[in-house]
Each structure stands twice: as C-alpha cells, then as structure tokens.
Subunit: 358 residues, 4 copies
C-alpha cells in the first residue's frame, strides 16, 4: 500500500488544485477506503468560489464510492475489500441529535446536543473524497455495502444528490394524488422530481430555464415542464392547477426568486420544501404568506446520511425505480479534476454531473 496519495485541495478562493498528501491512518472508529469513483457537487463550486468558507489545505468532495482498505480497531461488522459508499453526511449515530433522528445536525460522536450542519464533515470539516483514499468517521454508522450487481456509477448519486433531492420530496410528505412544483432542475432538482414521482404525486411540474434540463425533467417523471425564461412560471402553474395551486412546492436553487415563487404557487395549507443553499437573507412576501394565516409549512432539508439511508437509496437503484446514469454527462480521471472543476463550475457543455475516477 502506498504512503502518498493525490487529493483535490482547496488553497484559496478560486483555487482547488490536485496535490499530494500522506495516506491517512484510521482512528479506532474510522475506516479507510480507497476511492474508486467520486464526483463534484455544486457545493464544491461554492467552496471554490469562496462563497462557503473552508480551511486552506482541506481535501474537497463528499460523494465517495470505494473499497474498504483498513478498519479502525473498534470497528466490527465490515471487512477489508468490501465495496461501499458513505453518505455526504456522516452522523455519529450517538449524539443527542442523531439519537433524535436529526442526523444531519449531529453534535459529534460524544456530543451532548445539536450542531448546525454537524453531520456534514467530508470536504467541510475533515478531508474529503476527491482523493485516492478517504477516512470515513464513525464507520459503523456510515458504511453501506454495494450489491454485486451494481456498478460504481449506478450508486454514485446516492451519497448526495439522490439523498438530498428525494429528501426534499420526503420532508414535504408528498401524498398520493398531490400536485407538486419543483423549481430548478439541476441535479438536486431532478432528483426531487424523481422523488415526487416515486412518492405518488399525480401532477408534477418542473420549472427551469434550460431546455436540456427540462427535457431531463420529463425523463425523471415530470408531467409538465415550464420554461421560466419564456413564461411567467407562477401564472403558468396556477393555470396548470386550475387556480388551486400546488400541494407541495420544492425549491432547489437557493435564490430569492425561486423561494418566493414556490410560496406564490402554494395552496393554503401546503408545504414549501426548501433544498437550496442560500447566500443572502430571504424574504417571505406578506401577501403570498397570507399575513401568516395560510397554515403553510416551510421545511428545509440537509442531505440525509448514515448507512441506513444509503441502504435504502441503494435498494431503490437496485430495484430499477430510479436510474441516475443519465445524470452523469462527463467522465474524468482524478488527474484531470481541475479541468472537471472548470467545466462543472461554468456549467459548460450541458454538464449535469461528472464522474471522477482515481
């Protein structure tokens, strides 16, 4: 086994470079996995641009597919050589937050409370997955085996965008026969669209400005598509629902406009499920909020993690209910990750997701 490895390292705003680091040693509760496939997330681009601050020198990336290389001394139940994934969010399982089912806001293994975003560690507070090797903390809570019949690429979306997008549908408690509007059809929004379809919504309306993405939305299950660069999306959705509005509106961009429009198309008593990462204050318009008397629910969801979550998502993939292969538009080797960032950050060439192979 080598002692050095390649890693995509954040240096400063504007610079993520492929550098070299020592292969880390797992602590007692950790696993070391050899990465066999990973990808780049929109959040990584926020980090690249300096919009989400992380420390200089950190390895980026939170979507790992790999093979167990070694296990910490206290880890049982897994074996070296197993093919596994871990979620973007790696809860300890043992914090008060985790024990309450609030895994994404995990207060740490021994935590006595909740920590905002505490479950998000890879490429945020500890080294991430865009490297040859990765330490998975609290391995017993986080490693999920990949069935033999599935390829790395088939499960590549489970750690983050599939978990997040479908999580947005689940947090909204979509019910049989609901009408649902999903604002923005990037990778997360597309998975939210697929999630709405899987949960039994009967009228799914996908909104975006890019024809390619709207076309993909249809493949993911949308009944209607709305090109907001050409139409007044709010008026069009009210029209498609005969003036009633939707039962659930999902925001998947992180902008005031989409958040606000999501509220405007919501029927009284409906649920706005927010998935976007916002970089400014948000405004709730007085009228759309019915002065606070509309019985609305506004929920937000950080990517659900932990091995049970991953197991469920893998089962969905394995059952052929959801096929994310169409979302992987480009392939790169780890050596070319800087090029991959350049393409992905600028959303060139119709890119949705890239696959990065060490």
């Amino acid at each position: 086994m080598p002692t050095k490895m390649r890693a995509a390292i954040f240096i400063e705003p504007g610079r993520i470079v492929l550098g070299e680091k020592p292969v880390p040693e797992p602590g007692p509760l950790d696993a070391l996995i050899r990465i066999t496939l990973t990808t780049i997330c929109g959040t990584d681009v926020h980090i690249l641009k300096g919009e989400y601050p992380v420390r200089s020198g950190l390895t980026i990336g939170h979507e790992p597919v790999g093979v167990i290389e070694s296990l910490g001394s206290a880890v049982t139940g897994f074996a070296v050589g197993q093919r596994v994934i871990a979620g973007a969010i790696t809860p300890s399982g043992t914090s008060n937050a985790s024990l309450s089912g609030c895994h994404s806001q995990c207060g740490g293994a021994h935590g006595h409370g909740w920590t905002a975003l505490g479950g998000w560690r890879f490429g945020n507070t500890i080294d991430g997955a865009q490297a040859d090797y990765l330490i998975v903390p609290d391995a017993m809570a986080n490693l999920a085996a990949i069935p033999d019949g599935l390829t790395d690429e088939q499960v590549l979306m489970c750690p983050d965008i599939m978990s997040t997008g479908m999580g947005g549908a689940e947090s909204a408690n979509i019910r049989l026969g609901d009408s649902v509007a999903i604002f923005a059809q990037g990778p997360i929004g597309l998975c939210a669209t697929a999630g709405a379809r899987l949960m039994g919504a009967s009228k799914i309306i996908a909104i975006d400005r890019l024809p390619d993405r709207l076309e993909m939305a249809r493949r993911m299950g949308a009944d209607h598509i709305v090109d907001s660069s050409k139409t007044d999306a709010v008026a069009e959705i009210m029209n498609l629902t005969a003036g009633r509005g939707v039962d659930v509106a999902i925001e998947a961009l992180g902008q005031q406009e989409t958040f606000e429009n999501a509220l405007r198309v919501l029927r009284p008593g409906g649920t706005l499920s927010s998935l976007g990462v916002y970089s400014t204050n948000l405004t709730i318009p007085f009228g759309a909020y019915h002065a606070g008397l509309g019985d609305h629910h506004i929920v937000s969801t950080l990517c659900p993690g932990g091995k049970e979550r991953m197991r469920r998502l893998i089962e969905i993939v394995d059952s052929k209910r959801f096929d994310s292969s169409a979302l992987v538009t480009h392939h790169f080797s780890l050596d070319d990750i800087e090029t991959a960032y350049e393409l992905f950050a600028n959303q060139r060439d119709g890119v949705l997701k890239v696959a990065i192979k060490p």
Copy 2:
C-alpha cells in the same frame, strides 16, 4: 322575538359603532343564536384601524357564546334553547379543504378547492358576534354544546384565543421534555404558553415587555420569564438552554423582531410556530437559517375551528386543566362596546380580554 337588534358595525377605518340591524333569518343550513357573551379580539382592532380591510356595514366579532334561537330547515341534531358556542372559524365540513382536515382554509360548503382564510367568516365576510343575534353558517359542523356545569365566561376563550394559542403549540408537535420559547404574552401567547405546558414541555420560557403579562405567563405555566425590554432575549434564552437553543419557538405577536428572534433561538432541526398576524414582508436571516441547511420547520396556524375542535377545548376547560378566567380583566355591556374598544385598542388598564354582555 324582536325584529331589530344592536350590532357593533364597522363604518370606516377608525369607526366601529353600535348600530341597529334587523334580526336575520337563518337559511337551511344555518342556526340563529342569541348572543349571551362575546369579546373583542386583537384582529378586531386591526379592522378598526383599517389594517385589515372589511366592507363597511359589517358586524364585527368572531367569539360567540349564546343560545340557539332557531334552526335552518335542513339542520338536525340540535335544539332551540341549547347553550352553545361556535368557533371563530366556521368551516363547512364539506369543502375539499375541510375534507382534507384543512378546515381554516375552507373553500366553502360546496367548494371544490381551498380558499385562503376561507374558514374565517364571522366579522370578516359575514356579520359577526358583537350583536344581539348571530347567524352561524353550516350549523351542523359548527355548534358545540356547553355543559351545564360551565358558565359562559368559562368557555368564552374557546372560539378563538384558546384554539389559536394551543393550536400553535400543537402545530409545533411539542413533545414530552421539549424546551419551548413563546415570544409575546398577549392573550394568544398566554394560551400558547398554557398549551406548551399542557403538552408536556419541560422548559417553558415566556418573553414579553410588560411585567403584568410576564406574571400572568407564570400562572399559565412558564418556568422562566424574560423581560425583553430589559434583557437581550436571544442571549438569555441561549443561556437558559445552556447554548443548545429551544426545540420549539412560538411567535405570537406578528412582528419581524419576534419572528427573527424565534428563529435565532431555535436549535437545528427545531420548529418555529408562527401565530402572529403580520402586516409587512418577513425576513429570514441567512445566518439564523443556516443558509437553508438547518432542517428547520416553520409552520403557521390560523385558529382551528369546527364543533369537534370546540368540543375538545370545552373538555379541557371542564377538566380544570386550563382556566382562562384570569384572562378576562374587564366586563362591559354591549351598549358600552365603543368604550370597550377604546380601552382594548389602547391596551389601557392592563387589559387582556374584555367580556361583552348583550
């Protein structure tokens, strides 16, 4: 039976006057009740001030206690002479919204959808309760009998503030052992405090600027009181929860400051339950919202109505679990209702709620 009656009539912003109207006739689904006690709500003051528009000539008031005077031809199950209340919100029971359990946003008896605030009819879209007589629409869905052992005054808070305040606690799904902060201790906030206590919260923190109201909050079940005119309420609440924040924060004023503070003291994954009637846009601060990644729930609640709701609230009063008598600080006859408005609108003399007797 008389043909004329007294009624508190909205004329124009700034003017609600006691006038005379004909006693109305019930339609087939209605009941006519003779009002024996009613009260004034903060919302009525909004109407008085022109902040919430209603049509000139409308009788105001939505908190009726009375006796059935006559019943519509299609109404069964009730008898003339029964002592009853009806909720401030009178759902039809038969609209799609009502049949979904979303009674406050009722689309009307024959409605094929949802209507924002549609369940609120008394003193909003039809004549209200500050009068000698009142038409209760959809009587079979809305009349609730008063047990013999209870006085009119004991059930006077059921139609609105008890239903609303406790509804705010229920919408937040308060659980055994939760910590809860309630911002503002007017009548609604006090009932929310009582609701949090009834539902098993173990740390209840009441916030207001008036010592009398804070004292009353203790009587309603608060463990801690915070005078926000003297202290930084956010800092104090974080201190009282050892930095953890509260599981549930209830907003009961309808102001940006309290809404925002409610979010600031909320733990990740917690619920902000909004009861206030806002008159401006609201801002969700970026940081307190953790950029949309805090797994927060923001719910709003319009007063739950319907006879089953009233039955449950009356049972709570009957069981001595909640005593609202302390909230009634002043008594007036209907003839003096203009004086009552003057006192109540200006919150003079420590007024919480007034009882108005025709």
Copy 3:
C-alpha cells in the same frame, strides 16, 4: 323522467334479485344520480351469503358512476347533468368523527360522536348503487366530477377498491425504499400492490394461490410473486428479504392465516396494515408478536371516502399512474345482474371485477 326503476334487492340470505322500486326523491342535502356504471364487491357477496346482515328489501351496491339527475334544495356547487362518482363511503363532513378526519367512522350529519362503520351507507344502511337511480346523501361532501377525458370504466374502481387498496398502503406509511408484502391478490390486494408501488416501496412481494392473480400482481407493480399454494410463503419472504423481514405487510383477505403470516414476516418495528373483512376472532401469535415488545403497529383501514378522496384518486387515474382497466374482466347489463352475482360469487372464469351497465 320515469317514476319506476330497476334495483338489485337483497331478499334473504342466498337471494339478491332484480326488482322494481320507485325512483326516490332527494332530500335537501341529497343528490339523485342516474347510474351509468357500477360493479359488484366482495362485500356484496358477504351480504348475499348472509355473512354480513342487512335488512330485507335493501338495494345493494356501493360503487356508483353516474350523472346528476336532480339536487336537493340546500345543495350548491353542482349542476344537473354533471358526470360524477361518489365513494363507497359517504361521510357527512359535519360529524365530530368527520371533522377529526375519521370520515369512515362518521357519526352522521349532525352526529355528536363516532359511529363504527358509520360512513358506509350505500347498500348497507340506505339503498345502494346497483339500480337505475341512487340517492347520494350529503351530496356536497361526496360528489366528485369526472373529467371529460375519462370514461366511466376508468373511474369505476375509485369508489371502493382503489380507495381501499391504496388506503392500506397509505395507512402503513410506506416510505421510499421500504420492502412490502401483500397477502392475497384479489381486487383489493392488487390495488394495495399498486399503491405500494406508487408510494415508492422498492421491494414488493405479492402472495396468492392463483397464477392469474399473481400474474396480474406483476402488472400492478410487484417485484416478486409467491404462490402460497406451492411454497411456504413466510419462509420465502424471509428469504427474499435476507432474513430481515418486511417493513410493511398488508393483509387483504380477511383470514387468520394471512393475518398471522403478515405478522410473521414483519421486521421489529414494522407495520401490519389490515384490509380484510374478518368473520372470526383473530389470534396474535405470542412469538411473532415478540411478547408485545416488538414495537409493531397494527392498523386497519375502512375504504376512505368523501369527494376530496375521490378527486385525488381520479387525478391518479387521469395522470396514467394507475390503470384499473385490466381489473374489469367481465361486462353485464343491469338486467343480467343475477348472472353477474352468480359468476362473481363463485369466482368463475378468472373474474376479478365485473362492470354493470344499467
């Protein structure tokens, strides 16, 4: 308009005959509809056999598709000539049970409580749908319009088996990635299978003894089929779930054996959703129940009704998510309903559901 009509009338155990009755007059809250299509339910066979007692002289049937012929004096929001369905269960909307969302156990329009099975009126406590005309009580709560694009046959399953079968999936709170076993693939079980698929279960196991029904189960969405006439179903299901058991087991027959097997294949903490109509006491086996310490949920569901429920089911049909046409295996005119009963009661000729046209 005629004054006489044909009706399938229960005379005594063993005898349902096509007779003549006067066309009824709607009361103030009723609608009279002219039946254009209806069907026979397994429950009707229970009535025929005397296993479920109803009064002699009652018109049978609870699955109406028709056209509004006339409306009661207090009914608004509908028009003569509209094509409509009503659910098998016709809640008042205004009883305490209905106002609590417990529509099937409706205590009557003016009811002050709950009545077991109170929402089931057609062909049980009032004249039913196997006739030329039908009175729909509490019409405003129960009539749902059929969109122009849908045929009578496409919505024929909405009033009962689709509502019941999918209701069993919904009561179990099936979640994305769940494994679900459905015991018995009669019409209700097939709809439960379709419901599990619609709600996002990732492993659906259908159990029956008839190859035709198992084949149909695959069409409805089953991933695995188990012929319990040839295999030990419990062992097979444990095998298919790698010893883990299912998250949800649905009983759709009404027998001790299937109820018990449903419990035996359930993982700890799982949900048994019971749809069957039982005619004997049930036994919960000590071991399968883990002595009461397995955190199991056992829920039962009577067909959900009301116009909002019907609206949602119609939307599902309209969206092409669910196609019940394959379930209608035979067609009869109302004149031949006795023949239809004979075929259906004896489950001859692979019958699943029959369409009866007046």
Copy 4:
C-alpha cells in the same frame, strides 16, 4: 479499586442469589460505572420465575444509577467521576434499526438490520445492574449526566418504568382533549397515567383492582378511577365517556382480559397502546374489532432508551412535572436483595418499587 464485586445472579428458575464476580474491564466503546442505586423490575420477576429465559450465571437488573469509574479507549465526551444513568435499553446508535429511530430493536453496533428486542441488553444478554459495577455498552450513545440538583432516587425511574410508561402514552399520540383509559396501575401503568396527564389528555380513567394503586393513580393524574374487582370496567368506561368510548386505551398488564377490554372501550379510529409483556397468544375479538373495519391502531412499545431519551426524562423530573418518589415504597441494601426479591415478587406490603443501594 476492588477486583471483586457483589452481583444478583440468576442461577435457575426460582433462584436469584447474591454472588461474587470479578469487576469487569470496559472494552473500547464501553464505560464501567459504579452503581449507587438500582431497583427491581417486574421483568426481573418473570426471569426469576423462569417465564422469560436467560442464561444461568447472568447478573440481573436493567435500571442503573451510578458514577463513571472508567471509560473505554474510544469513548470521548464523558469523564470519570460523573454521575450518570443509562437506560434499560442500550441501543448502539449505529445499527440500521437505531439509525431509523427504532432503537429498542437495535441490530447491534455494527448490525445490518433489526433484532427483535435487540436494544435490551442489561440483565438479558449481558450482565446487569444489580451489582456493585456495571459495563455500559456503546457508552457514548447511552450515558446521560445527572444534574447536581437531583438525587439518585429522583432519577431511579428514568431508565425503565418512566420511559416505558410515558412511551406508551407517546406511542398513542395522545392529543389535547383526548380521553384515555389505562388498564392496570402497577408502576408502568402509573407512569402511563402520568404520561397521559403530561400530554394533555382531558379525561383520564385508571383501572385496577387494588385500592392503593387506584389512589396512587389519582396522584399521578387520573380524573376517574375504576375498581375492576367491583365494577364492570368496560361498562363503567363507556358510561364515563357518554357511550363514545376513549380515544386511547393503554394496556399495562400483559393479560388477555385487559388487552381485550382496552379494545372494547376504544372508539372507532382510536389507538390501543400495548405496554404489557404477554406470555400467551392474544385474541382480538371479532366484534370489538368491527370485523377489521374500525380504523383501529394497535401499537406496542418496548422501553425507549439511549442518552437523548434519558436526557429528556431527567429534564421532566428536574422541572418538577413528574415526581416518582411516591413510587419507591421500600429501601434495601444490595446485601438484602434476595429479601427484596421475595417482597417484590409477592407484591407484599403494598410494594410498588424498591430502591436497592450497593
């Protein structure tokens, strides 16, 4: 620190003796705590009588209060000398069951699934708390600090009977204004009664055959008591609810009669919450179950565990909402534990719970 300790050891049915064992060493994820107070549970009596089998040589007891003596090498977040409790149920936090929130059915630290009763380890599958020292497995998930202001005795009921009894109320989703009947007022039933009160039930009916226990039920919050040795409990409860039945019935004995009566007094759509440990098959009476059409929920609850659960219960005690001191009727030293078993097993001298001090 000593190397030997006293322990109450199960030898064979009928014999639990105080013996000597080596003080154990904690593994990497464990904590060793010195027991300062513990108690005997009804389940221990089942073990004593051979009704619940455990291996010979096992130390009994699952209700520990103590002080941390030493910590495993991988345990962080706790310190030697801290006063702590652990729940009767000690989930790993990291099994699939635990990560799903189903802690009591935990599949083990590395578990890939659910194990029935898997969270119950103390005095069942590993050595228990009736000893001088105790190994707490998965310590980071299970140790909860005792606030300085609380005595050992004040928190002694948290690990089991308070968690179980209140858990039965919580699993039933008791709502404001519910009527609740609790069958049997042993320690668990008394805590269920207190839980129903804490959650806002407005009519609480406690049933038992012993006057002392019924008297205690009043102290715990019952509004009505029913002595089932003198009255027909079902008839009396139907009478107390004006024929309506209760919204929630809690079974806290583990007998067919109480289970069946709980179902008989339940309104349609109500919830039967089962806490009893049954030793025979259970029968669901056909009529009381409305042939499977009553929309009933039957839920069972094994004592919820984990440090977050303990934290919440301790907060409830600390807030003075619940005082279990009245439940501790007798005190013994560990040396006299055989006498304590004798008294407790035979329910002599009005015993409810005993405190055992090493």
